[in-house]
Symmetry: C2
Subunit: 416 residues, 2 copies
């Protein structure tokens, strides 16, 4: 493992000064290579899929694992798209001159070695590696054992392409030991891994929080709320709640909980419950009194803290904006929280007082992702506060360095 890390680190030094044109060329070659190696990739994937079915893997997980022509085309297209995005490296984030005459600039530079631990989808191999390459980082990847043959085939194709473009193949290093012992070793490679980004379920996240000694960015849960304020336009509220809950229920920026001001609950909930005919509702006594116990079950305290990721929603009726904000802060996961309102003061207070990566006024929580924010692509959505918070694009895969230019200045006496 240490030898793999050393190879990634050596590649990272080369990548840190690679020019944009070379990196783009490598990405385009990699896209072409994935298409050219179609038969090999599908064969490798078939072996993974057959083994997964034989081992009794669920149909949903087998579907995630499976590569098809259209998924391969999506992977190649993704690499071409990343080639077209702006290169964040070298961007001057800020610059100024200090009284000593020194000219200071803060310049965006690659992180170095970016490690990604991910679960069964093999497309993450090319997606993550492409974003790392464009941002000048070596990708140090550890996928799941069930996708190993697929991941190895994808990595081999991309490494070939990188070398043809004159970049080190070790710009993509895939760990082929998928044992738990190797995973434990991986997340303790301090000094070799500059940033670890897990892409997976709660078990993976918990293991990283408990065991990792390398720096990491967590792509966490999304227990997202939509709060319908007393002053909300109720047609707008219905459209936003329906979109936030049902447009794609399985993703982290889908809404899990509806909070309604008591003064509009009786008017909003009946038609909204009709809009949400396919959605199981659980709520408090006030919501049950309006919709009846046949339409809405009783919510437990744990319901309000649960990210369902399916067509189920909790409902809470509140007496005030204060109560709504407190409820969102107490039960939310700090991902994306929306208010529907026509009251400027309520909007401003919600934005200021709700503690989350993103707060939205009169818009669906589903907009909180890298594509919709205009980043072109995303490696995840951070729910932590340090380094990156919210959707992470290429820029969030960089750090900065101070460049200080002088003409022989030395420091005088004075405060330390």
């Amino acid at each position: 493992m240490a030898e793999l890390a050393a190879r990634a680190k050596a590649a990272a030094r080369v990548l840190s000064t690679a020019d944009t044109e070379t990196k783009n060329h490598a990405l385009l070659l990699a896209a072409g290579q994935l298409e050219q190696d179609r038969d090999d990739l599908l064969d490798a994937n078939r072996a993974d899929v057959d083994a997964a079915i034989a081992s009794g893997m669920s149909a949903t997980l087998v579907d995630r694992l499976r590569l098809t022509d259209s998924r391969l085309a999506g992977m190649a297209g993704g690499l071409r798209k990343v080639a077209g995005l702006a290169d964040p490296v070298g961007e001057i984030a800020e610059g100024w001159v200090v009284p000593s005459g020194l000219r200071i600039s803060r310049v965006r530079v690659p992180l170095g070695v970016v490690a990604i631990v991910y679960e069964s989808r093999p497309n993450v191999t090319s997606d993550a590696a492409g974003l790392c390459l464009k941002s000048g980082n070596a990708a140090f990847l550890r996928g799941s054992s069930s996708a190993l043959a697929s991941n190895l085939a994808i990595a081999a194709a991309m490494r070939d392409a990188y070398e043809k473009a004159g970049l080190p193949g070790d710009a993509l290093v895939l760990v082929s030991d998928t044992s738990h012992a190797a995973a434990a070793e991986f997340m303790k490679l301090r000094g070799s891994i500059d940033c670890l980004i897990p892409r997976g379920g709660p078990g993976l996240i918990a293991s990283i929080l408990e065991n990792a000694t390398v720096p990491y960015v967590i792509d966490g849960d999304g227990n997202c709320h939509v709060y319908v304020d007393a002053s909300a336009d109720l047609d707008t509220a219905r459209r936003i709640v329906v979109n936030a809950k049902t447009q794609r229920p399985s993703v982290c920026n889908a809404a899990e909980s509806l909070v309604v001001h008591r003064s509009v609950a009786a008017q909003l909930l009946p038609p909204l419950a009709g809009d949400l005919a396919d959605v199981e509702l659980v709520g408090d006594e006030a919501a049950q009194a309006i919709l009846g116990p046949d339409r809405i079950g009783k919510a437990t305290e744990s319901d309000y803290s649960t990210e369902y990721l399916e067509l189920k929603m909790s409902v809470k009726v509140v007496d005030s904006l204060d109560e709504a904000i407190a409820h969102v802060n107490d039960t939310g996961s700090g991902h994306s929280e929306a208010i529907v309102t026509s009251d400027l003061n309520a909007a401003d207070r919600f934005c200021a007082e709700v503690d989350a990566a993103a707060v939205l006024v009169n818009a669906s929580t589903r907009f909180v992702d890298g594509e919709e924010f205009g980043f072109g692509a995303e490696i995840g959505i951070s729910t932590q506060k340090l380094h990156a918070r919210g959707p992470m694009g290429l820029r969030q895969l960089t750090t900065t360095k101070y460049v200080v230019r002088g003409e022989g200045q030395v420091r005088g006496e004075g405060i330390c």
Copy 2:
């Protein structure tokens, strides 16, 4: 411990929306209170100092522990200075409009609860607490057992002042259990501590890297180099090396190692060795051949990786810029690295290829701190790559939040 953390967290919610005027008022009252409570503070400190002397603490550490009238004045002055700095909270870091019509802004907000673990200097209590308050964070502090009486007295004075200003006293929570068990518990308060900043020696840092499960920012070692290039103006080089090594040898941005291009070594080293008469030198064979073994001892490999923090310096002669950059990257700690040169290409390559928080051209490494960078004050100098890298001022004690404003937008079908 959990109860203390909950109190800090509750205070952080209040502070997150406190206005600048109230925070400044609290800081000014706290400064006045420290002066007013002079006798109590000095009495408490005398108890700490007497106990430390009785326990056999070294004179240097006792000096760090001791409060005097002038140190108290410095603490009060520090708080007044922080009151005069710009408030980073609410600053819009960037903002744009996306095709869906949503208006997105990234707004600077407090981190929440900032924890600081620190060693014997009691002034850190007021310095750190003041920076946290101004940036809207609750300060959750754990000082050393040797300074406990002093720290409790300072905290009590500041908490009083905060309450008089209408802010929660729990904006400063000091942990009075200074046992090792309490320290271990402290650094695992995930969910309560938003950012931990250690201020202390290698033992403390190692313990945090090994045991902390809360997010942290490391204020790390500074094994800083000055590289004198073939094209350097040698008078400038001498002034910069002398300043970087000797102006304040005990701090992290002091230089520890001199790297010299072979073509100027014979001309530079003899007069420079004279300038550095008080500095013990160790070097490679080339440097020894020039200066003689009486003036310069033989450097071991470990010398080149050592942060001496005293009047000792390692010297290495290199054949090229490439060798200089590789040596700096291999042995440096990623803090501050300087080149002295008149060659534009050498300057640009050194800046691009050296991996450090700060790279300097023709200036002393001693300039890399929050004061000299114009931040007004600093809580430390980060040598990590995530969140903050380099000097940390008030802005580095914040995170950002996306505020998204719409007019009822919902997300259409399409990619994820």
